[in-house]
């Protein structure tokens, strides 16, 4: 699977002064509401922001749309696969496509991403084959893709931990004199973790080129953001000495512009930025969750009107940037993607049990070797008729059933229980 590289992400930030025909200056939200950077209204109208300009070609805009649509399609397929029992769990990004595609497309290839467990859209932008993301949710591995092949780190489940990894990585980038940047994703719930605060401290003190991208989807499982903070999260940055900005997380253009600006700031050696993308978790926390226990349907419905994909589509249509053929082709591409994901997942084999002992250490560990050998012998003991089994027992160097002096008895006697497995 190749992913179209949205060239827009490479353009200089302030391309030209020309405004789109539909661009108009809308009043920023009132002072009671925290200021929110928005470049595209829910109705799909371009609005201007004094600090964030963006000027994309029709092709680039279609690219963003395509990214969001395919990501949503992939996400839906994964949810379906979980329902069919092919995955043990799925954490849907439904509703957060703009935050993820906007920020993801702001990145350069040499930037590095530290995601949580929900950044399927960012993974898409990085060119990670989406089926790679499914291994851990199927239960065949804990991630397992090569972080360095797409500069996209493994998903991190322990909330907040990755923000420190990102900060350390960014410290290394600065040490290397590279002009790339690092982005760390985390949620509104994660903002409460001490690790996140420590990453703010370290990144500020070392002036590390890192962007903290907080998707405030307003829920941490069943807890609304009020359980985590009294004030908008973007404000937290200020107390650590770097800027924070709140962006409309359902506005892909604003997310792109704000993230790009923050990344450029990092590249210029001006240190970290906190971006709070204000968005909404449209689905359950994961497929294990039942949001009807804790939130009202109306809330979700209100946010449906702000849908990130619909918003861009309206804009594309209004401006004539995409025609019916484009949308039809995209629908087909979506279905092809869904089908491919389905097929790949269904064919994904269970790992070899011996994999338990692989990669525990890079340089080996005698106990792992010993346990591997014992396990192999034990496994082999169930196939009594197989001469290879005896060889494995012998190779493992464990003594026979009689339990000779100094040796743990082997598992020869266990064969009788074979039927219970």
């Amino acid at each position: 699977m190749t992913v179209e590289s949205t060239a827009a992400a490479r353009k200089p930030r302030r391309s030209s002064g020309t405004k789109r025909a539909s661009a108009k200056r809308t009043p920023q939200p009132q002072s009671s509401e925290p200021p929110l950077v928005q470049l595209l209204s829910p109705e799909g109208e371009r609005v201007e922001h004094p600090d964030y300009q963006i000027d994309l070609t029709a092709e680039e805009l279609r690219g963003l749309h395509r990214d969001m649509v395919l990501t949503r399609r992939f996400d839906a397929e994964a949810t379906a696969l979980q329902r069919q029992g092919e995955l043990g769990l799925w954490a849907s990004l439904l509703g957060q496509e703009a935050a993820q595609i906007g920020s993801g497309r702001a990145l350069r290839d040499d930037d590095y991403v530290f995601p949580t467990y929900r950044e399927h859209g960012v993974a898409w932008c990085r060119g990670v084959d989406p089926t790679n993301l499914l291994g851990m949710f199927r239960g065949v591995n804990h991630g397992g893709w090569d972080p360095n092949s797409n500069n996209f780190h493994l998903y991190t489940i322990v909330i907040g931990s990755q923000t420190l990894h990102a900060t350390g990585y960014a410290m290394g980038v600065a040490k290397d004199g590279a002009d790339s940047a690092v982005i760390a994703y985390f949620g509104d719930g994660a903002s409460s973790q001490g690790d996140v605060a420590e990453s703010f401290t370290f990144s500020a003190v070392y002036n590390a080129p890192v962007v903290f991208f907080c998707q405030n989807n307003q829920w941490a499982i069943s807890e609304p953001t009020e359980k985590q903070t009294r004030v908008p999260l973007y404000q937290r940055a200020q107390g650590y000495g770097f800027p924070g900005v709140r962006v409309d997380g359902n506005d892909v253009l604003a997310c792109l512009a704000v993230t790009r600006s923050a990344l450029e700031r990092a590249r210029r050696g001006e240190g970290p930025t906190l971006v709070e993308a204000f968005t909404y978790r449209m689905g359950a926390h994961t497929t294990s969750d039942d949001p009807t226990k804790y939130r009202a349907d109306e809330e979700r419905e209100a946010w449906e009107a702000k849908d990130p994909i619909l918003r861009l589509r309206r804009y594309l249509e209004r401006e004539g940037h995409a025609d019916e053929a484009f949308f039809t082709a995209l629908d087909e591409e979506s279905e092809t993607l869904g089908k491919r994901v389905r097929e790949v997942v269904r064919a994904m084999p269970d790992p070899d049990p011996m994999a338990i002992f692989d990669h525990v250490y890079a340089d080996g560990h005698t106990l792992v070797d010993e346990e591997r050998a014992q396990f192999a012998a034990y496994q082999a003991s169930f196939v009594d008729a197989d001469p290879a089994a005896d060889a494995a027992i012998a190779a493992a160097g464990v003594t026979g059933v009689a339990g000779g002096a100094g040796g743990a008895g082997a598992s020869g006697g266990a064969g009788v229980h074979e039927g219970d497995r």
């Binding site: 591995n141 001490g194 807890e223 002992f357 006697g413 229980h417």
Partner: protein
Amino acid sequence: MTVQKLPIAKAINESLRKALDTDPKVLIMGEDVGKLGGVFRVTDGLQKDFGEGRVIDTPLAESGIVGTAIGLALRGYRPVVEIQFDGFVFPAYDQIVTQLAKMHARALGKIKLPVVIRIPYGGGIGAVEHHSESPEALFAHVAGLKIVSPSTASDAYWMMQQAIQTDDPVIFFEPKRRYWDKGEVNTEAIPGPLHRARVAREGADLTLVAYGPMVKVCLEAAAAAEEEGKSLEIVDLRSMSPIDFDTIQTSVEKTRRLVVVHEAPVFYGSGAEIAARITERCFYHLEAPVLRVGGYHSPYPPARLEDEYLPGLDRVLDAVDRSLAY
């Protein structure tokens, strides 16, 4: 009559409800324990009935949860803290090990820390990373903490009552894959002491010691062994700190063989402590070395491998056979 058949999760729920009802100082704290009732519904309905002041949804920060629970305990409350999954207790490890465990001693006994930390633990539920671990040894090594784990609904109910009444910090490990297993709970019968082991099945040829989720596996192993003419005695440890060595010793003096079974990795696990101490106590009685069955020295594997990783019937019986072969 006050005997009910309850799943373990519900037995804990009932026990928490009773504690909230009888002692106004008892609080429930944790992530998602309120409206949601916890990801396993163990606190289901409690916030509705006791209010947000007693059943508290906390910010997502385990160190903060335990640290503020300590402060609440110093103010006279008895917080019962939920850690959502075993693998997420570590951000709170510092507060547990350096503060909660030591503060009573630091104050020369002048303050008490009646905090219960509930941790759903262990594997077998097909979960992603960090949701299936058994970190009990990492707490049992630390003085000042008491560590328990029930294996039946009755113990789940009563041990929780006793843990909440204890004036010491108690880490209460809940065998999450047994949450739905039902058992009889007599809410009026006076239970035995919190830290006494229980002979779950009598036998003559070999003693199996287990706790939490592995008790059931051992009972099944004993049934299978019986068909082969082997009589296994099963000790449900119930408490990993302190350990009731007397009950194990009595059993081993009879059977002369011991196998310890737990989900946690064998290396530096609770089986090591039991093996070392029982060997010392029963040196002239043992016909075979104490054998241990448990997890490997590897991270808890992905779900599709957990059946191979977790000690099952066969692994237990394999160790039984190895012991009997001495």
